[in-house]
């Protein structure tokens, strides 16, 4: 892999953010709204729910982590869609850059977009609701790695769809995360799900991440096995995502969609 080329592609997206203040506002706006919404819901539950009454901020922490996953995935998709919207697709795919370098550039740059949006929201949550995700301590880093890897993986599946079906697949890009959210057990324990759905949910990394988040906040103990299991599952999906992306790329070359991909 050539780091300069990965950097060049990353730079393209950094310039895009730098050149447009509304774009920065857009990145910050939605996570902040989420924090406000879930902050008040969380406060209400804390005061009125026996389950949550001793663990201030579980819902808000879950909301922040879920938003991190959501932003990671959407950032990945958005950067790919930007190439389609700007009709730059052909230029990108005839540049001497390996497909693996394109994936690496999107993966690495998505983290920046995600953090630009999320850091202000996380900071707002501290004085406003007295909740700080940093209280999760060192395990937070591993939880975020698992979430990020899975978020990027979903991005890979969606961009594969864009390669396969063209811009008409765009709506799926926005809806992709909502398909999995009910199975992710973000705000409730896995036991709420019917038995057969519990089996499906366990095959996803989200359940393990959010169950462990709740465990840390409620019992102040850490089960690293669960955390690493979630990272391992995410890594498997990521590899699968990369394979699907390559298949879609070669499929797009066969169908000739790379040469006239546009709005």
């Amino acid at each position: 892999m050539n780091f300069n080329k990965i950097f060049a592609l990353g730079l393209r997206h950094l310039y895009l953010i730098k050149n447009s203040f509304p774009r920065v506002l857009d990145l910050i706006y939605w996570p902040t709204v989420q924090i406000f919404l879930w902050g008040f819901i969380s406060k209400f539950f804390t005061l009125n729910s026996a389950y949550y009454n001793n663990t201030v901020g579980i819902i808000l922490t879950a909301a922040i982590l879920y938003d991190f996953l959501f932003r990671a995935s959407i950032s990945f998709n958005m950067m790919f869609l930007e190439e389609i919207w700007s009709r730059n697709f052909t230029n990108l795919f005839i540049a001497p850059i390996k497909i693996s370098e394109i994936i690496a550039a999107l993966t690495l740059t998505a983290i920046l977009r995600t953090l630009i949006g999320l850091i202000p929201a996380v900071l707002i949550a501290i004085p406003l609701f007295g909740v700080s995700v940093i209280e999760l301590g060192v395990p937070l880093i591993f939880l975020l790695i698992g979430l990020y890897l899975f978020g990027v993986t979903l991005g890979l599946f969606v961009t594969s769809g864009l390669l396969r079906y063209g811009p008409s697949f765009e709506n799926i890009a926005w809806a992709s995360l909502f398909f999995l959210a009910p199975l992710g057990c973000i705000y409730y324990p896995i036991e709420i799900l019917p038995n057969f759905l519990q089996l499906v949910a366990k095959a996803l990394p989200l359940v393990h991440i959010f169950e462990e988040m709740r465990n840390i906040l409620m019992t102040e103990t850490v089960n690293y096995f669960n955390i690493f299991k979630s990272i391992f599952i995410s890594a498997i999906y990521f590899i699968l995502g990369v394979i699907v992306f390559y298949i879609s790329y070669f499929g797009a070359k066969k169908r000739g969609t790379l040469i006239n991909m546009g709005e």
Binding site: L16, S86, N91, P96, K253, G256, I259
Partner: protein, 243 residues
């Protein structure tokens, strides 16, 4: 032969976009690819650029099959410009050239950007966003991007389409001058017959995915008993027969 196209075919489901075409391009020559809309020019260019997988046939560059080259190894020798393919609109001209210069691994990039910007007279709108430029300005920026790496093989798809005569002439003069000063093999798809006569050493005429004739402009005009290339083109495009 520098570029050798052998039995190149592309079939999309039942539609035969390119049908067993054969042609060769000598090093540092300019070849025009002519034909009515939908005759397979863009698909042919797409296959040479590696964007479209041929159904059959072979493309050889320097006597080596395109498939045997590593993607980044061969693509750094190519470049492409088309008014139908744009650069990121929200980035400035300078930012776009910087990014593509980096992607193509151009050494001494600042110098190269400076050089090409002066030549193509794009310096005065260097800091403007590409999406805010006029068609003529965009075309010059697109051409600058396509020459940033001093490509050995340059593919141009209607480089002067929708330009006013003045800017169109500027682009043609620039390409003509660039050819004299640099070693470059050009495949030019165009509907502007004057442009083709001015820039191309030989011409390939395509129709319905097939090559219907090829030769120098003068040879083709003479062979078909017409006064100029435009009349020759019309004769071939409207004819039901193959030549």
């Amino acid at each position: 032969m520098f570029i050798k196209i052998k039995n190149l075919t592309k079939k999309y489901n039942t539609h035969l976009a390119v049908n067993k075409i054969n042609f060769e391009i000598e090093k540092n020559k300019t070849v025009g690819l002519l034909g009515p809309n939908g005759c397979g020019k863009t698909t042919t260019i797409g296959m040479i650029l590696g964007l479209v997988t041929p159904t059959e046939g072979e493309i050889k560059i320097d006597n080596k099959s395109l498939n045997t080259y590593l993607r980044d190894e061969i693509l750094k020798r190519f470049n492409f410009a088309s008014p139908y393919v744009e650069l990121p609109k929200k980035l400035t001209v300078k930012q776009n050239l910087e990014i593509y210069g980096r992607l193509y691994g151009v050494l001494d990039l600042d110098k190269r950007i400076n050089e090409i910007s002066n030549d193509l007279e794009i310096k005065n709108f260097f800091e403007r966003k590409t999406g805010e430029l006029s068609s003529g300005q965009k075309n010059r920026v697109s051409l600058a991007k396509s020459l940033i790496n001093k490509p050995e093989i340059l593919l141009l798809d209607e480089p002067t389409a929708s330009l006013d005569p003045d800017i169109g002439d500027f682009i043609r003069s620039y390409i003509q001058d660039y050819k004299l000063k640099n070693k470059v093999t050009i495949l030019l798809a165009s509907h502007n017959m004057g442009e083709v006569e001015r820039l191309c050493d030989t011409v390939i005429m395509m129709k319905k995915g097939k090559i219907v004739d090829a030769g120098t402009c003068n040879d083709l005009i003479e062979k078909h008993g017409r006064n100029n290339l435009e009349e020759t083109f019309l004769k071939l495009a409207r004819s039901k027969d193959e030549f």
